[in-house]
């Protein structure tokens, strides 16, 4: 192929300046969202009975101890002052320190978030990799035995409780078949990881340590929790794909594409799927955002050191600062993921203009 001709079939619409403006405006919108959320969190958390001191002191909680602890954490100050001090810290990049273990929230988050990302992304890869082909296949054979089977399987996938599915997977593949490990992110007895690293164990084991066996160990630990976590998004993606593809298949331009003499595969992969991607991408974005917020049940069941586990523990301990900061960070991530989805629309659908 002569140089300079590839653009014909791979050309990408250039991002017009209006998209940049759109991004900036959406990021500015983040400010009131985060302010509102922080205010809500502070007020709401303090309305609940109890505080972190109860959890810290446990059976040692006497009135005197409690007062000293509360004073130490600044919980005896007026609420507006606590909020102001907390927010001024946030503005300086200080998300506070956990009341229970005295570790800074930022540090805890940064060590735990990679675990959540690895789990969430793996779950989404399973969901997308299986869900889209399943949905397309079901749509192409609407009301066939296969389609009905896929529908029932999707409904089961959506309605099965994660804790049950997680335990089932652990029992079948871990206890019964001994194929896969059931807890943790790696084999604690065989390997160790440098605490100063990124904590992305897939990356660390393969790229930093150049150790395929170590990498395989991490992957093996990832499979069951990713399956458990990916089941619901998989079912949702399959359902949305099916309905989107069915809708697009009846479009006139699909008939035009067939009338051109294109192969069935090319019609499906190019003309149908590209148009069906809009609703699918929306769902993928929402599901990814949700999973990045941490999967409490999955992380609990598989002893996965992610943010879900961490925030759950913070809620049990009434660790105000951790809950507040964690919520703020996750809300920001959720908004950014959805912003990325919105931007991807511009690529998928040239009719969209951001104004």
């Amino acid at each position: 192929m002569p140089p300079g001709t590839r653009h014909i079939f791979t050309q990408q619409p250039e991002l017009p300046p209006s998209v940049l403006k759109f991004i900036v405006r959406r990021l500015i919108l983040l400010v009131p969202i985060l302010f509102g959320l922080s205010l809500f969190m502070v007020v709401f958390l303090h309305l609940l009975p109890g505080d972190p001191c109860g959890a810290i002191l446990g059976e040692h909680s006497t009135a005197e101890n409690l007062a000293r602890c509360q004073h130490g954490l600044g919980l005896d100050k007026p609420l507006y002052q606590q909020y102001f001090e907390y927010m001024s810290g946030v503005f300086h990049g200080d998300f506070g320190v956990s009341a229970t273990n005295k570790v800074s929230v930022a540090t805890s988050f940064l060590t735990r978030f990679p675990a959540t990302i690895e789990l969430a992304v793996s779950a989404m890869i399973i969901a997308i990799g299986v869900g889209i082909p399943l949905g397309v296949a079901a749509a192409k054979r609407q009301y066939s035995l296969f389609d009905n089977f896929a529908t029932v399987a999707s409904l089961i996938g959506i309605s099965i409780p994660i804790f049950f599915l997680g335990l089932l997977l652990q029992y079948v593949f871990g206890v019964w078949l001994h194929w896969l490990p059931t807890a943790g992110r790696y084999d604690l007895g065989a390997y160790s990881y440098d605490g100063a690293g990124t904590n992305f164990l897939l990356w660390e084991s393969l790229v930093i340590d150049h150790d395929p066996a170590k990498f395989a160990d991490v992957v093996r630990h990832l499979i069951l929790p990713a399956l458990a976590l990916g089941t619901i998004p998989l079912a949702v993606v399959a359902r949305i794909t099916r309905s989107a593809v069915i809708e697009v298949l009846s479009e006139d331009y699909v008939r035009t594409a067939r009338a051109k003499g294109l192969t069935s595969r090319r019609v499906d992969s190019r003309h149908v799927l590209r148009n069906a991607m809009l609703p699918i991408v929306t769902v993928i974005g929402l599901q990814t955002g949700l999973l990045l917020g941490g999967a409490v049940l999955t992380e609990q069941i598989f002893s996965w050191g992610g943010v879900g586990n961490w925030l759950f523990q913070a809620a049990v301990d009434k660790d105000f600062v951790v809950i507040q900061s964690g919520a703020l960070i996750l809300a920001t991530i959720f908004v950014v993921v959805n912003l990325l989805v919105d931007i991807s629309y511009a690529y998928l659908n040239p009719r969209i203009r951001y104004s």
Partner: protein, 371 residues
Amino acid sequence: MTTIVDLDGVSPVAEGRVVGPPPPADVLLDVRGLKTHFHVMDGTVAAVDGVDFQLRRGETLGLVGESGCGKSVTSLTIMRLIDIPPGEIVAGEIWFDGREILSLPMSDMRQIRGADMSMIFQEPMTSLNPVFTVGNQIAEAVKAHRQVSNKEAWNRAVEMLEAVGIPSPERRVKQYPHELSGGMRQRVMIAMALSCDPKLIIADEPTTALDVTIQAQILELIKSMQERTGAALLLITHDLAVVAETVQRMAVMYAGKIVETGTAEDVLLNPKHPYTQGLITSIPSNVARGQRLNVIRGTVPNPFRMPGGCRFQPRCPMAFEPCRDFDPPLRTTDPGRRAACWLHYPASERPTSRDVATSATPMQTERVAKQ
């Protein structure tokens, strides 16, 4: 009949079926006894129920009829773009360029589609894919049939846009369908259909969705492109004025059957079939101002319950004895003229009520047997 579910479109008709002899070499398209039925929840719709016509190389033929008479289904069957199921090609042969295309495997049919026969659709608004540039979509058609580089295919797209009269084609070729007007999009559709120099162009109501001021331009374009390339044209329309301006011969369709064929001039000036007569006399320009317009009484028959005998008989002002029970086959009335009406049969050839069991047409026997 065995039907093989083919997700790519149509199943071949029953394997090992016997087809007739090929038509003479100058006949590009020969449709014989074509029946396309749709099996839907409420029963079976005989959308096309015995259609015969021929189209010679380079000839233009108008297929005329009201909405729902089966003209679009006829064209989609020729392209083999009918979804099977719910559709089924019950009977008939389609000879195209020396081959019987209903028995071709889909891979062979795919090579014909878009290359030797191509189609211009009714709705330019929805017939182009919104997420690809028009150049991309034309180049794709070229690449599907010719061993050319992307660059050559792209250049061909620019060249075709220029040929269909789109100004500054180098700029337009990079635009998306939504950036073009309806008339422009139809020009793009025409460019796409003609990009591989087809021998047959099927235009299915190409101007119906367009603004009246644009309609004439598009028709003129189709006609001039047809003349320039020497392709045959099958123009499907409900608009007699369009036929009069564009085609040499015409075929009138009613309720899934051809009722009359002939040169456009003959049929329009001297219609033989009462249905055609009704259509022509209901054109407002044929009536003096202040006079009542002629109408065809009644409505198109319910596709699930076609009337017995001649399908037009319940609405026909001239219906007489044989029409109720016998469906008239097409009969040559004059050289180059055919009509399906008992009026044009000599009295000796008309069936009488005593003939029910013996001389009814096969179609008729079937129906009688069911009743």
